[in-house]
Symmetry: C2
Subunit: 223 residues, 2 copies
DNA sequence: ACTACGGTTGAATCCTGAA
DNA sequence: GTTCAGGATTCAACCGTAG
């Protein structure tokens, strides 16, 4: 059992991960949206969505496909704004099985007069080979409460419960879960909470420190 | 006030529709999936999903953009399987404002062991120019009961309530609603039920007869 | 032409206090 | 202790305008 964290660009770290050594990937890459919260602008830096973003996704997806074991699953968060790009890149490496809909508990802003109020995010769910889901059949529309703003430590933080839901659906205790875009370490916390091993990669120093501290509280962390 | 129906390929009919004469488009084109209902296959013909399908979407979208008035909205049903293709074609002609999620009340079939159970369909919502939504702000996740199998007269039939919801959000009484892929006439029934005019086009003889009969019961139909 | 910034909705949920 | 009503809170935006 172990937790292994890397403070580095995942494009640098992944090539040193052995092929077919990962049992499950659950990750939340940058949405390439030039997003900056207008509500908590002092709290978080802008998430970059530069031209490099497309290359980042392409390269990391290819490496993710290499390190993933046969008959193992992948979950990639994504927004509808660029779902076409993410879907096509995803399908170059994995069999896309569902476009899951995460329905949140409240709406966001946006165009207040001419748009419907954003209340969901998408998750590309796929696999290499064929892997069955555990725990019975569940709908592809999944409702989970958003992380409460006060306790939020990353601007786009995902609920631990949602990540654990995916992990328990698509892996076994003891399996190795990878997140190449670790952020605040939500996937890591979810993995450890249900007895999986975890490998996390994060390029940003502040987020890396956050997740290192967060996961160290649960279990000794290796580097 | 009028209902106008055409039994023909929409690529043939649309060129004769004047530019900027339509107030709203709500349509459910073929999903390009080689769809065939496994449990009622005898009831419906296979909906064609051949290479011609891509050309059909491209050509009809271009014509839809031409006939639509400035500052008017478009709703196009689509499944996640080809959302990348539909999104890109849509964005060549319209401003995409939302990817709406229609959540059904029950799940469909599909891979029973390795997939999540399909419970939603997508709707591309966009516009030409800028058009405000009526009736307050509503979430982009919309729950409506699916048309049940027994009363279904078309394999991909959408609920009248859902179509009426879109129509009332994005048009005024007396406006002209167009559906170039009329199918069983659901959009037409929805349009008439809230006092809009309707132009419907359907290539398949059986579906055309169905919708002609269905709409004639509500209002005299022109050809 | 760009970039940066201020202002804004409605809905779900949580909190607080009273019945 | 429990329920319920009312207030507070928050939002993987986007428009319009100013510089």
């Amino acid at each position: 059992m172990s937790v292994q964290l890397h403070h580095e660009d995942c494009r640098v770290v992944l090539p040193s991960v052995p092929s077919e050594s990962i049992d499950l990937i659950v990750t939340d890459p940058p949405y390439l949206m030039d997003y900056k919260s207008g509500w908590r602008k002092e709290a978080f830096d802008k998430i970059v969505g530069d031209k490099d973003g497309h290359e980042l996704i392409r390269t990391s997806f290819a490496e993710m496909a290499r390190v993933l074991k046969q008959n193992s699953a992948v979950y990639v968060f994504c927004s509808w704004h660029h779902v076409d790009f993410f879907k096509r890149e995803f399908e170059q490496h994995f069999t896309l099985k569902n476009l899951l809909v995460w329905v949140k508990n409240n709406t966001g802003p946006g165009d207040l007069e001419a748009s419907y109020a954003p209340m969901h995010e998408l998750v590309l769910y796929g696999m290499k080979g064929r892997r069955l889901l555990k725990g019975g059949r569940t709908p592809d529309v999944i409702r989970f409460k958003r992380v409460n703003g006060e306790s939020m430590i990353h601007p786009t933080e995902k609920p631990v419960d949602l990540c654990r839901f995916f992990i328990e659906k698509s892996s076994e205790p003891g399996d190795v879960v990878l997140d190449p875009f670790m952020g605040s370490g939500t996937t890591g916390e979810a993995a450890l909470s249900c007895d999986r091993q975890f490998i996390g990669i994060e390029i940003a120093a502040n987020h890396f420190m956050t997740s290192k501290a967060r996961l160290s509280q649960i279990q000794p962390v290796l580097f």
